[in-house]
Structure formats: C-alpha cells, structure tokens
Subunit: 546 residues, 2 copies
C-alpha cells in the first residue's frame, strides 16, 4: 500500500496511517514493561485478528453521478476531485477508538468523493455546487476528530462529500506590531509554527493532535493545547475569522475588544462545520520564547496537587504548562512515554514548564504556592521527558488495540469546588460500566487545563474487553456521559461535540440552547448540507420557530 497517497500528501507532511495514528514509520510494538504490566492490571485478553488491509476493505460505489463529477471537475482541477477507494477511506472518519475499530472491519462507510479546494473562492464554489446538487458536505482537515465529527453522514441528501481543506494552507500576512497573523484554515500545527518562526513569532498551541490537526480545525472545534496555562485556549488566540456559508460569506473580528453586539466569532468557534467553512483565521501571536525552564513536582495526593494548581491559577499564575497526574497515572508513569510501566511512582506527579520573559521570577512564585500545597520539586527530567513524548500517546493506543487491549480517552471540566466529585463520578461510571460487561479496567486521570475558577479532567482508559469492543464501549461511554451531565461537568472540555456528544450537548445547553443553534443553522444552511447530525441532531425538526 502506498501510504504517501496524493489525497493527503502535502509539502513536508507525512500523511497519517489510514487506519491508525500518525506516521506509519513510528508505529511500534508495545514496550516490554507495558506488556508485563497489562495482565496484572486487566487480566489476559485474547489477541485479535490482524487489521484489514486497505485494499481488502469493501465500500459502496460512489453515489455521485457523472454529471456531478463533471460539475466539480469544472470548478476544481480533475485531480482534486477524487472517488478512488483509498481517498474515500482516508476520509471515512476521525481517530477516536471507535473510528479505529471501524477501520478494522471489512465493510466500511466512506464519503462518495473527496474534494480538495486550494482557495477561499474554490471553497465557496464547492458549497454552492453542493447546495445545487443536493449533496452533504463534511469539512475535513487533519482528520483527528475523536467525537465523530467526520462521519460520512449524508443526512437527507443524495450523497456526501468530504471537503478536504489541507490544500488551503499557508500564512496570508503577519502584523508584527499588533502581534497578529492570518493563517489559512488547512495549515497544520507544525506548518503554522514554522511559518511564524520565520518572522520570530510563535502561536503556542500544542494539543496532542498538533502534528496533524489544522488551524481551521482548532477553531471549529474550540481546541485547547498543552500550553493553555500560558497562552489560553485556542478560541482566546483567535482575533478574526473568514467563513463561507451556503448563503453568504462573513468576516469577523474587526477589533481586539468590542461592544458591537454579540460576539458572532464565538458562534463559529465550536460550530464544527455546521454553519459554514472557516477559510482563514487571524491569530494573536507572540515572540518566540528565548528561554524554557522545566520543573517536575510530586504531591502526596491528587487532591493536594489540585489545590496547588488552584493556588497558582488564582494567585497570579505564571507557568506556561501546568499538568497534574493522579495516583494511577503517576504509578505507571503515563506522562513519560519512554518510561511507561517501568518506574512505579507514588503520589501524584506534576509538570511545570515556563516560557517567555521573567522566567525565574515566575518559577519562584509558582514554586512557593506548590510547596504551600504540599508539593516537592523533583527536578527537571520528568518534565523534559513529558515534553519529548507529548504527542506520542496515540501511537501507544494503536499498539494496545493490536494487542487486544481497549484504550480510549475522554475529558470534561468543572469548577475547583466540584473537581473531585466529578472525577469520582466519571471514574465510577467507567469502572462499573466495564465491570458490568465483565471487563477489568484501569482508569487514569490528569488535569492539564486550568482556569481561575476551575480545571479540566482528562481520563485515559484501559480495559480488558472481550467480545465486541465497539458495542461495549458505546454502552460505557453513554453511561459516562450521563454521569458527567448529572455531576455538572461539561460534555467536552476540548474534544468538541461531533455526533458522539450531540445528545448530551442538548442536555447541557437545554431546549432553548438547541433552538438557538438550530435557528442559526437554518438561516445559514437552509437545506442542511453541512455536516448533518453534528453538534445537534436535527436542526430542521427540533424547533418551534418559523
């Protein structure tokens, strides 16, 4: 199989494995220490059959007619309208564990074609044609969604297109005085940082999907990166947007601060392609940091560590990265990919990284507060190792799935005062859900995004599931989502809604909230071609208006 397929090949970017995470050259066997640990934690699980090869997958023929193809090939060049099986399968979904389990099946669903526009105007032309021809459109960039936002769902339409935006990339302009840069939506994380670095600037947005995900995707999904303690969520970096909708274009973000009506930019941030396609994002950037400083910490308990993070965040902060693992995650050294399972550490470990100006001053302030909460510094190495391996977690999942071990992550957030109750509720729902399915599970948790009023909780789940992993997980996940809503957590802190979380978003924002999103959707996309079923289930049925 030719992994460097033109459907995803771009300058200097090695495309992802079609059925797993990341660079195929980096895929590895499970480390010995992990293999030794798994039976202890989860019992023995049978090794599953080898994954299906791409060439052996069966998908339905494209539902597009020759006339459809002629129309799109007239607007884009012929090689940017693809209906071959590999192109379609590479756009068949995201990278959640359910997505990867589906990629192991012989029968799969895929979009009917992949379009590869290279300009804003080509995106507009694609949408206009899709409206005319009654075709659904799924905006697609890095393909790293873990919430079903990329499912090839055609809704009530004739067929479904994947609109691949990765050719729409690059730096449009930079304003070094204002510290603003305009990037095209399909620019990946590394490409953005390379282009900005040529001008001495950095964006500083490093989610785990960094190497593949794109600027437009970060915006559409309200991403949050590992440096959020220092630079904020992605939406706080966005100062302007350019969007094409099926019924008109819009440019937003005229001023760094404004009271000119509701903030419509915040409607498109988090809209996950249901209102329009983001084509350009104007971002706040900052000078490349001259210095970086690491420090690791240990706390007697997760509770003590969380108190330390709270003090730091409420009393002036200053760290660029603040990250706290619970006892379970600490015990297997999950935060240091290279060391996983080797050193059985006690307590709760934390990582701090400082970048930018006044580093020593900031470290002194943060360290004093962490010590006040019972923390002890453990030097630089663990934090450095975390940085080294921080984008590699998903490779480990592929190896676990190959070994028959179920592995997935999920996340939520709440106030500092509700943090432990929410963590307990999620952990219990997971453990009981798997136990009811006869599976042992091992649940780890960390805090990686902090706010003055609260923090996120990120869970990594291993389970010794026998039988249909997909079906069992669907039941457990539904139970966890119910538990999150009941315990006042958000259904997603940074993975977004997609199709997987849509029923729980409705509970989170209520009937009036759903009606608002549906009203905007019907106004901008009256025929409902954009990402049907994502964010809210049915915007054309759920409302009282008009």
């Amino acid at each position: 199989m030719n992994d460097v397929h033109p459907a995803t090949q771009r300058d200097g970017v090695t495309p992802m494995r079609w059925n797993g995470w990341g660079d195929p050259a980096k895929a590895k066997e499970l480390p010995f220490a992990v293999r030794a640990l798994l039976p202890v934690l989860l019992g023995r699980v049978p090794k599953p059959p080898a994954p299906v090869e791409l060439a052996d997958v069966r998908i339905a023929d494209s539902a597009l007619t020759d006339a459809d193809l002629v129309a799109f090939r007239g607007a884009l060049s012929a090689d940017r309208v693809r209906t071959d099986a590999e192109s379609r399968l590479r756009h068949a979904g995201g990278r959640s564990t359910p997505d990867l389990l589906r990629r192991r099946r012989q029968e799969q669903e895929a979009p009917d074609a992949v379009l590869l526009p290279t300009t804003h105007d080509e995106v507009a032309a694609c949408l206009a044609m899709a409206v005319d021809l009654d075709l659904a459109v799924i905006p697609f960039s890095g393909g790293t969604s873990v919430v079903g936002a990329l499912d090839p769902e055609r809704g009530t339409h004739r067929a479904v297109l994947s609109l691949d935006l990765t050719r729409l990339s690059g730096l449009v302009r930079i304003d070094p005085v204002a510290g603003e840069a305009v990037l095209r939506a399909g620019t990946t994380g590394p490409e953005a940082e390379r282009l900005l670095a040529e001008h001495g600037f950095e964006l500083g947005h490093y989610p785990q999907s960094f190497r593949y995900a794109t600027i437009g995707g970060f915006a559409a999904a309200r991403s949050s990166g590992q440096n959020s303690a220092g630079f904020g969520r992605f939406e706080t970096m966005v100062v302007g947007l350019r969007v094409v909708t099926p019924t008109g274009e819009i440019e937003l973000g005229r001023s760094p601060g404004t009271a000119a009506g509701p903030d419509l930019m915040r409607l498109f941030l988090g809209s996950e392609g249901i209102f329009g396609v983001i084509t350009e994002v104007r971002l706040r950037v900052h000078p490349l940091p001259e210095q970086r400083l690491f420090e690791s910490w240990t706390f007697p308990s997760f509770e003590a560590g969380a108190e330390g993070l709270r003090l730091v965040t409420q009393q002036g902060g200053g760290a660029t990265v603040l990250r706290l693992s619970d006892e379970a995650e600490t015990s297997v050294s999950l935060a240091q990919i290279g060391k996983i399972g080797k050193a059985m550490a006690k307590g709760a470990s934390a990582i701090t990284v400082y970048e930018g100006a006044n580093i020593e001053e900031r470290r002194a302030r943060v360290s004093a507060l962490l010590r006040e909460a019972g923390g002890t510094s453990t030097g630089e190495s663990a934090a450095e190792e975390w940085l080294e391996g921080r984008f590699d977690g998903p490779y480990l999942r592929d190896s676990l799935l190959d070994a028959g071990v179920f592995c997935e992550t999920l996340e939520t957030a709440t106030t500092w005062s509700n943090l432990h109750a929410l963590r307990d509720a999620v952990t219990s729902a997971l453990k009981e859900g798997f136990a009811d399915a006869g599976a042992k599970s091992f649940i780890m948790c960390h805090v990686s995004h902090v706010y003055p009023t609260g923090a996120s909780l990120y869970f990594t789940i291993l389970a010794g599931v026998r039988g249909d992993q997909l079906a069992i997980w669907e039941g457990v996940k539904s139970r966890v989502n119910d538990a999150i809503i009941a315990a006042d957590g958000t259904i997603s802190h940074h993975h977004a809604v997609g199709r997987d979380h849509a029923p729980w978003l409705a509970e989170e924002i209520g009937e009036t909230g759903v009606r608002i999103i549906a009203a905007v959707k019907r106004e901008l996309d009256p025929t409902g071609i954009l990402n049907p079923g994502a964010v809210i289930a049915d915007p054309y049925a759920s409302t009282r208006g008009s």
Copy 2:
C-alpha cells in the same frame, strides 16, 4: 420635586437626577478655571434657557388600557406597576448627551408604564403577559446607556413598557473555592462590591457608570471597566448567565472551559435586551487586594506613550490600570477632575495603578518598559487624583450643558498598528463636522483599555455649538461613525450599539452577521416585543430565511 422617588429608590442608593447625571447633591457650577478656559478653546457661546422642570414636561397619556394594568397588577404588587409621569420620565432614555438634550424639552417621549419585578419568575411573568398583550418591553436598570438602548420605542406594538430590574438585586451565592459569585441582574456596581467584600472578594469592574449601572447591564452591553488591564472586560468575568426569553429560559456556563458547541453565553453578552432579559450573572471574583500602588508618567508624545502601553501589554503586563491621555487631554488635565484647566501640562500623561500580589515586581517590569518607550515617572499624586475623581466626569458635562457648551464622548478600538490612523480619522471627522456647522471644537483622546493586539480610543468632545445642538451633533456623529468604519475601527469598544449605532453595526458585521442576529431574535422573540430597533434595525424584514 421629590428626587428620592420610589420608582428608583433602593436601599442606600440615591437615585440619579431625572435629567442629568448622578446624585443631585453633587451637581456643581463649572469650576472657575474651566470657565476661563472655555472661551479660549471654543469662542463665546450663548447661555441656554434653564432646563425644564419635571412637573412642566408634557408626555402623552399612557396607551395602556385598564385591562392591561389589572393584568400586570395581578402579577406584581400594585405599587410596582407605575404610570405616573415621574416614573415614566425617569425611564424615558439613557444618559447620552442627546438624551440629556431631549430631557430639556417641554414635549417628551416616555414609556407607557414602568414595571418593577423583584424575582426571576416575575420577570418571566412580565414577558409572558407582554407577549399576550402585544406590548414592547425595554429592559432598564441603571439607565446609564449612552447609545440609545433605552429609547421608549414601541415598534409595531400597542404600547411600550419599561422593565425596571433594579429590584432584582443582591448576592444569590458565593463559592470561595472556585472564586465565583452569582449576582442578580439589578445589583449596582457599589452594591455588588459591598456584598462581595463581606466575603473578602472583589469583582473589580469599574466603568465610569459604576455607581449606577448594574451587573445585568454590564453583561447585556459588554461593558469594560477602568481596571480592564488587570481584570479584563466584563464579558471575560462572566462564567454563567440565567436568561428569560419570550419563548423559554436558558442557563449557560456549566464549565470554566468547554468545547461543547458554540459559546452561546457570548450571544447574550452584548445582546442589549433584544434576545431576552438576563436575571442572574455568575462571575469570577478575586480576593480583595491588600495593596494598591499608584504611579503617574509623562511621555514626549501620545505616540511614545502608546508604544509604552503596547510593550507592557505584549511583554507580560502586570498593571491593573493603564491609561494614557493625548496631548490635548493632558494640556487641560482632564484626567484629574479637581485640576481641570488649572495646570497646562505638556506631553502625554499616563496613569498606572497596581493591585493584588507581587506589586513591586510588577511595577518594576512595567516601569522598565515605559522608560524604554521614553516615559518618565512623575510620582504618585496625579494617579491618585485620577482615582479620586474617576466617576465624576459626567457631572462636569451637566455643568457644561448648562453653560451652553456641547460636550459628549465616544469611543472605538483597533490594532496597535492602526491606532494612530484611526485616531486621526476620528479627530478629523469631528473637527471638520463641527467646523462645517460653524462651531469650534476641542477634541481630547485617551487609551484606557489595552489588549495584546490593540487598544481602545476614547474621545471627549467639547464644541461651541450655536443653534440646535441635537441636530448638529446627529450630523457630526454620523460622519464620525462613517469614518470609524472606513478606518477599520469598531463602532463601539464598550458603550455598545443601542439604536444610535445600529446602522454601523450592520456595516461592521455585514449582511450575513445581521442575518444571524435576526435569526436568533426571531427564534427567541417571534413577535419582536424586546427592545425594538436596538442592535439591528429590523430583524423581521432583513433576512432571507424562513
């Protein structure tokens, strides 16, 4: 006239002058130095006739029927449904200069009745009855709008009600661990700070309207306060909202950070009562500062000072207040109310205030950057005097209007790179506008809100207008708004849109933006009873959808 009228009297709050700013006891004659300066700046202007007395104003009879009144008196107690002339005139508009000029006329427009609900449920009942009875509703709290958001506009409805929310006040609950407090919408600035201080906390939102404006008004209008360098705009303090709309209620803000769809809270922040009535606001609060430190600065020019503010904001900041007056404002010492016109200072003066932790450290960092931009410290006194008089500017306006001098303010914002071009464009439009009307004008400007990518510009305008001040200002203001849009500024940084800025908001957000707001409006308020004409002119005509 009984100024302590029950229509606006609340615990410990002295109601505003019905036809001017603030506490009637604080109204003063113009200081001698100002009286001496005015003819030099503006030429001599004739003293206008004395303002009309409230008892002499003529308003139309209330258009409400006895049946209407019986209905509302059934839901609220009888004394909280008012149709007397004083109650109606006290709710006839906001506090822009055009509002105050209208209050000087013998014939005035006023709402047909004033409703005074005391609970969330009473607000819901009022809206439900207004829908049933076909009555427009203008939400009203502090009455400090300067953009025509409170005009008694009935639109297509039978009559118009002022929904006075000031009885809906107080602290609902506080969470000292999360640093969150829930305040009812009608709580004034001083009341909020007093209630929070009892628990050792502060909100830290100090717009010039602080003494009268309310928490719900700050939210609805996307307010920004004088401490915004330290604590951010009001919308960044809001972590939750409770809203009643004509078709349902909504509670938003489940989590400190979330990727659960678009941020609907940001739709209500800045909605100025056109989507619903905010009844409760959950806010991020912080411990009361133990220390406060003042330092004043002088720069050779406004440009040098702006560069200093930019360096501070982009390189780590640390000041709670950052404020820079241009040469004109500096020359008359406008920033120090007690000194106005006395000390003719040179250059551009700036004020820094530091509150909270690590004050000396932060001052050292900020001071180094201000010096780098050419600033010289001038000690504490000017900054302390600014703090002393910072809410008193509008009193001076009343005295100027009494003396026949036209006085108004307006504001905008843009990026650091566009700041001086925008300031020049606004200043020219003002000067030329007044000159064309045969009036000399004196235009002052300051920066009081800074962001990493840009800053606000706040203009104070004095003009020696002869003839119809209201008509002449309408022409000048229209010209300035055109200039702001043409020069890439926002139509409002913190005064909001109201009716006065609505045509220019449409230019700022474009046709698609207007359609989005209209679609949400039609969904939540299908009969259009809420604040007709505010924010966008006609949500029921301007759209293509449904």
